[in-house]
Every structure is written in C-alpha cells, then in structure tokens.
C-alpha cells in the first residue's frame, strides 16, 4: 500500500521529516478506530528529548490506545507519529510514504520501550534470559554480550541477585522491575509505561515508582500512563489529561493540578487527588 500524506509533505520545511532539531515524539492528528467505534479523535502531542509526560484520564479515555499506537501495536487510521524525526510505520522515498513491512516495523520498535500493566514477562525464561533475549535476537548481540548487558540492567533496577529466578518466583514489584530492565536493555529512545503499577499490591508500588523516578532523573524520555498522581507531581514535566479520545488539556504540574482550565479536568482531579 502506498499512502501519500499531503500534510506531511506540506510540513517538510518545519515538520518532523527533515528538521534536525526535532522533538523526540510527535503525535499529529492521530485517529484510531476499532471497527465503527473511534477511540482517538485526533490527538496532537509533542514530547521533547528527556521530557517526562504523565497521561491521566479515566479508563476508556484512550490513554492506553495512544501508547499502543506510538509502539505500533495498533495502526493509526489517520495522522502520523514520528519518533526522533522518523515517521513510524512508513518509509519515505521522495514525497511518498510507503507502508513498512512487519519486519521493518519490528526494527523500528527497538527504539521504543514498552512496559505493560501485566508485566508480560516470559514465564519460561529466567529474569536474565528475559532481559537478554531481545538484545540477542533483535540487536544481534552475542550470547555473552547480551547476558552481560542483562546483568548490568538487572543491577540498575536492584535485582542483580535474582537473575536466575523464574518470574513466578518474583513478587509483582520485582517482576515489573525486570520488565523495565528488559525494555531498557534495548536502549530505546523513548520509554512507554502503560499503568505499570495498576496490577501491584499497594506496598509494592513504590519500588517500581522509585525505579521510574531514577530513570526520569537520568534524562530518559518517558510517557507514563498512570493513576499515581503523587508520582506525576514529583517527576512529570508535562501532565496530559485525556477524556473520551481527546486531549482535554496539557501543561506543567502546576497548571494542571493547581489551576486546570477545563471543567472536565477539574472534576476528574477532584476524584483522584
């Protein structure tokens, strides 16, 4: 399939295609439907290098779908998403965009790390093997290199001593930290977190949030979908509030939490704060 994206062509002078000094993530007028039901009604979002964006919103507001689009687990119906200047899902030749084949999509995904609500660790592999798998098979590292890398990243999330355990022997918090290490080991340009603490017991939430805070402080570009407003207050550069498939408003922590301009934002925050 060949798609000509007029808007992208018009934007070439200042858009994401040719500009060197581009933001890390650009989401432009993205629409997504499942069958007849449109869940994203035109999302625009720009995330800079090293920026931490926290996306808030009620369930069903399209937050997770947005993350899944950024990671190409879902195809957008219109609009485009660019990571570090490259439009994802397409290859550009001249002024025409060609849809990528799955193999190339997989190659692009390497730049985007994803942490899931349910961890999705591979249960038949040890923590070490979980982290080492993708560097081996997607980046072509040797087994020894990949395992060294994996040990290093497990150390960073404080689990160096659990490398040989199978996920089922780890607590939920530990499993999620392994999942974070697994995503980090690909050295992605941007990390996506899809409600990373929602499946955890309350007393395990903080160990995961602490790892995420350390990442944020180290300058990782992150988009975090979460209900943890405390975390958002502490680390977010930008807070994005979504409702019903639209970004209602976005701004700094102070702007959104202390002086929301939209009634919908205010009423949501009144419930969760």
């Amino acid at each position: 399939m060949t798609a000509t994206v007029d808007r992208a062509r018009d934007d070439t002078r200042r858009g994401p295609l040719d500009v060197v000094d581009h933001p890390m993530v650009v989401v432009h007028d993205v629409r997504k439907s499942y069958g007849q039901h449109e869940v994203l009604h035109g999302i625009d979002l720009t995330i800079d290098h090293g920026e931490v964006a926290v996306v808030l919103g009620a369930s069903g507001s399209g937050k997770s779908t947005l993350l899944r689009c950024i990671n190409q687990l879902e195809k957008v119906n219109s609009g485009y998403i660019a990571i570090d200047g490259d439009i994802i899902g397409f290859r550009r030749s001249g002024n025409t965009l060609h849809e990528l084949r799955e193999r190339d999509v997989l190659r692009q995904r390497v730049h985007v790390g994803m942490v899931f609500q349910n961890f999705n660790l591979f249960p038949h592999l040890t923590a070490l093997e979980n982290v080492a798998e993708a560097p081996r098979s997607a980046l072509g590292r040797s087994r020894r290199e990949a395992e060294e890398l994996a040990r290093d990243f497990l150390g960073r999330v404080g689990l160096a001593d659990r490398a040989d355990d199978y996920p089922r022997r780890l607590s939920g918090g530990q499993q999620q930290r392994v999942a974070i290490a697994r995503a980090l080991a690909m050295e992605p340009k941007v990390m996506l977190f899809d409600e990373p603490t929602s499946a955890l017991d309350p007393e395990l939430v903080n160990e995961v949030l602490d790892v995420m805070k350390a990442l944020a402080e180290a300058g990782t570009t992150m988009i975090v979908v979460t209900h943890e407003t405390g975390f958002a207050r502490e680390v977010a550069d930008t807070v994005v509030f979504m409702d019903d498939g639209l970004i209602v408003e976005s701004g700094t922590v102070e702007q959104i939490f202390d002086a929301p301009t939209q009634a919908r934002t205010a009423s949501f925050l009144a419930k969760v704060l």
Binding site: R103, L106, R109, M114, F116, H124, S137, Y166, P167, M186
Partner: protein, 287 residues
C-alpha cells in the same frame, strides 16, 4: 482367577511366547515399527506445525488451505489413505518434474520412488499431520496474547517470537495430547500390515499363520506394545517436566528423587529412633 489361568492354562503357551519374544525376526520387525513411528511423528508434527501456523495466520488463502487439508485427511480412514499411497503406481506409473504442459526435467517410475516403506511413511505422516495440526493449534491458542505482544514490542523477529517465546509455552498444552497422538500413531503402524511391510504385527501374523500359536504370538506383540508405550510414557513425563520450568514454583520430583526422599525419611526416622533408645538407656543406666 484370570491371573491363575494365565499361568496354568496351557493354551497361553508361554514357552512359545518366550521363544519368539526376542527372536531376531520379531526384533527386526520391532525396529521397523519404531522406524515408522519415528518418521510418522517427525514429519507429521512438522507438517502439523506448519498447518497450524497457516490456520492461525492472517491470510485467508493459507487459512483455507490448512482447513481443507485437515478436513480431507481427517475424513479419510488411515487404511484407505495407506492403500492410496501404496497403489499410487497404478494411477500414475511415472512421475516427472517439470513445467505443467511444458518440458519435463526428469521422470522416474513411481514404483521406484514409492517403495512400500516410503508409501507407508507418507501415509502415516499426512494422516498424522491433520491431527497434530489441531493439537499444535490448541497449544498455540492457549498462550496468552500478551506474550506475543511483549515479544513484538521488543522487536524480536517473527520466527524467533514463535520458536523462543510462543512455542515453548504452547508445549505445556501440546504435550499431553501430543503424546497421545504419538502413542496412537505407534499402535496405528500395525495397520501398515496391509502393505505387506514387515512391522511387528505383520511379522506376528506371518508366524502364527505358519505355526498356529495364535495366542502366544499375539501376546508377543501385546507385550512389546506395552513395553514401548511404557517407555514413551516415561519420556513424556520427563519432557513435560522440562517444559514446566517457570510454570510451577517448584518442579515435581522425578520418581528417582521421590524414591531417594522416601529412603532418606525412613533412614532419618530410624536414626532418631536409635538416638531416642540410646538416650533412654543412657538415662536408665545413669542413676
């Protein structure tokens, strides 16, 4: 009563049983049976895996090809299927490779290509593939979709996702029914006797038709089938245990480990008992 009869009733003819149980002709036939089972399983499951992957693919063409295959070969009785391959030479005396309606690059006599043994292996394998594709498919479907998604999100190549992430997890579901299929195939090889291949059952028939010791020879076959099914079941246990890694917090002990643990318990109890009596007698002596 039955057990008593087994030993005392001369009709069972145990001497003849022992005479033939390890006879060279029987052992040779056994090897043929195992050979048929091995190739039937290997080719059957390989083809079955491809069929299952086709059925689960997004392509409507591949899906319908796979569905049609399974439909066709599940409908045809094994014996008919086998006889078809056996008699292929009557239908097509020569087989040639070439461009349809164009030049041929080479041709061979069908009978040369399809020895009865090849025909039997093909027949068993294509029959087995139809069943094992369903077994494989059920296993693949049982793996949580999040696993494939996580693998895709990491950029792991398609085939590697299948081989390293999905298949090992699917094996947990595949193995119990899969082992059934292998054992079933192992016994189905006896149907091959219609093609005059010297497998176990054919050989047994040949011998009892000659010497009339029907019961003794049927027992020879039965006991061998029992022994080999037992071995297959033991292999199944260990393979299942292998694929349970990570699924259970602790792997079930092997029978050997269980046996050792029992001995250790008995020994421990004996030791503590000894110590108790020793302590008691020491006390008794002390005052």
């Amino acid at each position: 009563m039955f057990l008593h009869g087994l030993i005392t009733n001369p009709q069972w003819d145990w001497p003849t049983f022992f005479e033939y149980f390890t006879a060279p002709s029987i052992l040779k036939a056994l090897r043929t049976t195992l050979w048929l089972t091995l190739w039937g399983t290997v080719i059957g499951f390989a083809l079955g895996t491809v069929l299952a992957a086709m059925r689960l693919s997004k392509s409507p063409l591949l899906q319908s090809v796979s569905w049609t295959y399974t439909w066709l070969f599940r409908s045809i009785p094994l014996i008919v299927n086998l006889l078809f391959w056996y008699n292929l030479a009557y239908l097509y005396p020569t087989l040639s490779i070439g461009i349809p309606f164009g030049p041929s690059f080479g041709s061979r006599e069908t009978l040369d290509l399809f020895s009865p043994m090849t025909a039997a292996i093909i027949g068993l394998a294509v029959h087995q593939a139809a069943y094992s594709s369903e077994v494989m498919r059920s296993g693949l479907l049982a793996v949580d979709f999040g696993q494939r998604e996580a693998a895709a999100a990491l950029g792991i190549p398609r085939f590697r996702q299948f081989r390293r992430i999905v298949l090992p997890q699917a094996m947990r579901t595949i193995l119990p029914t899969g082992a059934n299929e292998v054992i079933n195939l192992f016994k189905s090889t006896s149907v091959v006797y219609v093609m005059a291949i010297g497998e176990l059952f054919y050989q047994v028939r040949v011998i009892y038709n000659r010497n009339g010791a029907v019961w003794a020879l049927l027992m020879v076959a039965t006991v061998w089938y029992l022994v080999l099914t037992t071995i297959l079941s033991i292999i199944q246990y260990y393979v299942e245990r292998h694929y349970a890694r990570g699924a259970a917090r602790q792997l079930p002990p092997t029978p050997l480990q269980r046996l050792r643990a029992t001995f250790r318990n008995v020994a421990d109890r004996a030791r503590t008992d000894n110590e108790k009596t020793a302590a008691a007698s020491a006390q008794a002596v002390a005052p």
